[in-house]
Structure formats: structure tokens, C-alpha cells
Amino acid sequence: MSTRKPLRLAVVSAGLSVPSSTRLLADRLAETVRSELAAAEREVEVEIIELRDLGVDIAKNFASGFPSPELSEAIESVTSADGLIAVTPVFTASYSGLFKSFFDVIDNDALTGKPVLAAATGGTARHSLALEHALRPLFAYLRAVVVPTAVYAASEDWGGNGDSLTDTLPRRITRAGSELAGLLRDLPGGGGQAVDDASVVPFAEQLSALRPE
């Protein structure tokens, strides 16, 4: 078992402030996944991608059609990871523009089959369904496998009132983290296969597909 490679976990955080509660949630989720997998004797390499640092490069990619070397490295980290934790603040009732933009510049086949944990933060709990109405369809379109529990943390969740019936963030983090760990624990590790976008269909097949019946 110990001969298996470490699992590679990419963590995308779209928080804008430093420190940010989005990053805080991302770290808590990553730590939970790590400890769940440690219990299963799997090592995890976590790579954090702070989209704030890539904002200008992402905008330039829209204008130029190709990523800068730094952005290219971040995209490679995400697309080649075994699993992904993606966390965004809720802006204007949805994921932030920066968060969406990052996934817009990634090839739309590049996340196919990848286990993903989606999470979001916001000022109040009133926008928590943005996870189900915006993030889950986004990853469904990309044919990623999104774990059933999506975690939303409102400002109030970081405190708590001592009422164990309403202070549920830690439990939701644990549940989501173990769902993602469950999808990852039996993978070979070392990252997923990079999508080979340069594979060639032999010309005879291309031609014969066009022969009239």
C-alpha cells in the first residue's frame, strides 16, 4: 500500500482579501481530506492556487487566447491533479467572475471525471444555494464528479452560538471532506492522466466516415 504514489490535491481559492475566509474554508477542507486519507494510509500533496494572484493573467488570456507561463502552470496543476477543491466567494448571487473566468480558460474536456469538492463563502447564509444553482452545474458541464455535500460558510458560521444544533460548519466540512477522500483513496496517485489533445484519428477513418451509404 505504501508503494502507491502520493495523491495530488489541487485547491483553488478565489478569495480576494488577505487573509480571506474563502482561503480559510479551502484550507479547512484540504486539511480534512488530508487527515481522512492519512487514516487510509494515503499521502497527499496539496497545491494551493490563489486566483487573486492570477487575475491579470486570466484577463490577458481572454484577450490573447493563450495563458502566460504562470497561468499555464496553475492550469496544469488543476487539470493533472487527482482531485480538486474549488472555493469561491459568492458575488452578486453567484460564483465570483474571477472564479468563473479561471474555469473558462481551461479546456472544457480537461476536468472530465475529476473528483471535485465545491464550496463557497458569503456574508450571510441566504446565498448558500449558489453552490447548487451555479457551481454544481458548472462542474457538471465539465463532466467532473462533484461530491454530494457542497460546503457553504457564511460569516456567522465562523463564530457560533454554542448551540450544537445550529453550529454545523465543522460537521459539513468533515462530511464533504470524507466524501472527497472516499473518491480519492483508491486512485493510483501521482495525478490523473493529462488529456491528450493531440491524438490523431487515422485519415482513412476520417474519409470513410464521409462515404455516402
Binding site: G65, V200, P212
Partner: protein
């Protein structure tokens, strides 16, 4: 190695004066640029094909035929001829007429175009882009090689005993390049036929083009046309040069910044670092252009884009003077020195004719041998 220029044929307003040129001025400027290109020693002039504003380049063979009458040596080509939305029968006819009138100084580069609505404007479906390129070229290839064609396909009315006229000059079809910005299917198509493969080498990192060329070379060898390093590769590139690099950078920046292709994204300096763009002195152009072969292998044709974004005709002609005087002669010498003898030159009408005559005389010698 062939050196030339390729033009997209846009009528953008000059960003420094805001003055738009007229369509007629632009078309005549393209002719003047082609004539000057021959005068300063370039080997190829190629025009794009577009069917929407701000372009004037909707009819490549009309333009090239006029240029043919004003030149005597330069090869006339396209960048690209739309193989998807043009009727391959009409392509066969138009380019054969051009080939006769230009005494064989014609080849063409096929492409799918980059403007989605052109497909419906010409009664086609953009989702058929690759299949149209494959089927239409298969027919074009046949029309130029077989006198009587019976043909049935998916996208065009069938043909019975059709003869495309005029027949190619000396029975030698124009050499065909396949241009591709991203599709490995087109690299595969070029390799299958043993045709040339061209990357525009614009606005994208060179690794992107290296991958496509790698597929083409590997598949060229797979189909038995020769070794991978003998495949026929062409590359573009955007170039602006002045005697000293500061002048080049200063003069070019407004064109770069206002270009719909390159502006408002990465800076010109970032583009120079990350893509094949060259802005600088003749020596800088030479140094960077010579690095292309390190990525793409020894290749046969280098076309420079020099006249986009509303650049005035005089400025383009100055660029051509510098290219002709200071850059091309050095590049010719340096690439010739570095190229192994086993790597062929790009086929021309004359070389294809000579190859065929050699084959014919070999065949008649061996039948004479057999008769003895």
C-alpha cells in the same frame, strides 16, 4: 528555403491618424506590396480569403491574377483558400486558370477559415468544418489528377464524367499546403497526401505549433512519403523592423495595441517573449527567425506578416526594403548552411515538372532495357 510575405487583407483605420483607407486603396496597396516583394527578392506572396468587413480579400484568384501580370518571378499563393465553404470544383477551375496565366508560379494553402458565420453565408454548417475540409479536398485532389471524374459525396451534388478545365499546366497540379491553427486532423490530412503543412506562427506560443508540426512530420513518415525531417513545413510570423530596435518598437506599438488580434491583452514585450512576434532591428529579426528551425525542424517556407492593422503602404514598403536588403540574404545563407542535404526544398512547378520528367525518362530507359 523560400521567404515571402502573407497578407490578411484588412482595411483597418490607421491607429496613429485614425484615417481609414478605402477598399480600393487597400487592394491596390496589396498589389504594390506584392510587386515590391518580388523586387526586393522575396519568393512568395500570399493573400488571405475573407468574406466579411473589414477585409477586402474575398477573391484571391482575381487579385493574384492581376499580380501575376505585373510580376515575373514571385510565387503566388494563398493564406488561406477556404476549402470548407468554396465549391471544390470552382477552386479546381479558378486556380488552374491562374496557374496557366502565371506560368506555373502558383501554389495554394487550404484552410477552414476563422469566421463562423461564413459557413451559413455559403450554405454550409460550421459543425461540418473538418468533414468539409476532408471531403472537399479529396474531390479537388481527384479533379486535378483525373480527366474524367465520377464522384459522389456528402456535401455536394454528384458528378458524372466531369472534366475540370483547364487541366493543370503541364499536367502538374498546383502544390498544396494545409494551414492549421489548432486541428491535428488537418496535420493528419496533409501527411496522408504528402502535401505541405503550414502553421501561421502568430499570436500563440511556439510550443503550440511545435506539437502540430510534430504530428504532421510523424504521420508524413508513417504514410511513406519520406523521413519525418523531409516533410514540407511552412511557418508564418508577424514582423516589424526598422534600422534600430527602439524605432521599431516605438513605431509598431500603436499598431500592436490597437490590433483586434493582439491588443488589450498581454503587452507587446510579453508577446515578443512568449510568441514568435518579432519587433526590432534587422539583426534581431535574423536572430529570432533562426530560432524557429530549432523548434520546428528545418523547414521550407517562411512567410512574414508585415501589413496588418491599417499600416500605411509606405511603412510596409520600408519594411520590405529592410527585409530584402538586410534580413533575407542572411537568413538564406544561414538556413542553407544549417540544413542537411537530405531535407528537400519546397516543391515548385519547375521542380515537380523536373521530377516527373526524370521519372518518365527512367521508366522509358527501363522499358528499353527490357526490350533489349
Amino acid at each position: 528555403m523560400q521567404f515571402g510575405t502573407f497578407s490578411i487583407g484588412d482595411v483597418s483605420p490607421n491607429p496613429t491618424t485614425r484615417r481609414p483607407s478605402t477598399e480600393q486603396e487597400r487592394l491596390k496597396a496589396m498589389v504594390a506590396i506584392a510587386v515590391k516583394a518580388e523586387e526586393v527578392g522575396l519568393d512568395v506572396f500570399a493573400t488571405g480569403e475573407h468574406h466579411n468587413p473589414p477585409f477586402v480579400s474575398s477573391s484571391p484568384t482575381t487579385l493574384l491574377s492581376h499580380i501575376a501580370a505585373k510580376t515575373s518571378r514571385i510565387i503566388l499563393s494563398t493564406s488561406t483558400t477556404l476549402i470548407t465553404t468554396n465549391d471544390p470544383v470552382k477552386v479546381a477551375e479558378d486556380y488552374a486558370v491562374l496557374q496557366h496565366l502565371a506560368d506555373g508560379r502558383v501554389d495554394l494553402m487550404l484552410g477552414r477559415g476563422n469566421t463562423g458565420p461564413v459557413y451559413p453565408w455559403f450554405g454550409k454548417d460550421v459543425r461540418h468544418g473538418i468533414p468539409l475540409a476532408i471531403e472537399n479536398y479529396a474531390l479537388l485532389h481527384q479533379l486535378w489528377r483525373e480527366e474524367y471524374v465520377d464522384w459522389k459525396g456528402r456535401f455536394r451534388t454528384p458528378l458524372q464524367s466531369f472534366t475540370s478545365v483547364p487541366r493543370p499546366l503541364d499536367g502538374i497540379p498546383p502544390f498544396v499546403w494545409h494551414g492549421s491553427v489548432r486541428s491535428p486532423e488537418i496535420a493528419e490530412q496533409a501527411a496522408f497526401y504528402g502535401d505541405g503543412f503550414f502553421v501561421n506562427n502568430l499570436f500563440m506560443p511556439k510550443d503550440h505549433f511545435r506539437r502540430l508540426i510534430g504530428i504532421y512530420r510523424e504521420r508524413y513518415a508513417h504514410y511513406g512519403h519520406g523521413a519525418a525531417e523531409q516533410a514540407i513545413v511552412g511557418a508564418g510570423g508577424l514582423v516589424f523592423l526598422r534600422r534600430n530596435s527602439q524605432d521599431a518598437v516605438r513605431e509598431f506599438r500603436p499598431y500592436f495595441d490597437n490590433s483586434p488580434m493582439s491588443g488589450h491583452g498581454p503587452t507587446m514585450e510579453e508577446y515578443m517573449e512568449q510568441t514568435p512576434l518579432i519587433v526590432g532591428s534587422p539583426q534581431q529579426v535574423i536572430d529570432k527567425a533562426l530560432t524557429f528551425r530549432e523548434h520546428y525542424g528545418d523547414y521550407q517556407r517562411q512567410l512574414f506578416a508585415i501589413d496588418t492593422g491599417g499600416m500605411p503602404q509606405k511603412s510596409v514598403l520600408d519594411t520590405l526594403d529592410l527585409l530584402g536588403e538586410e534580413v533575407i540574404p542572411v537568413l538564406r545563407k544561414e538556413t542553407a548552411t544549417r540544413r542537411p542535404g537530405t531535407v528537400p526544398q519546397a516543391p515548385t512547378h519547375a521542380s515537380l515538372l523536373a521530377d516527373r520528367d526524370t521519372l518518365v525518362s527512367l521508366a522509358s530507359e527501363s522499358s528499353e532495357e527490357a526490350a533489349k
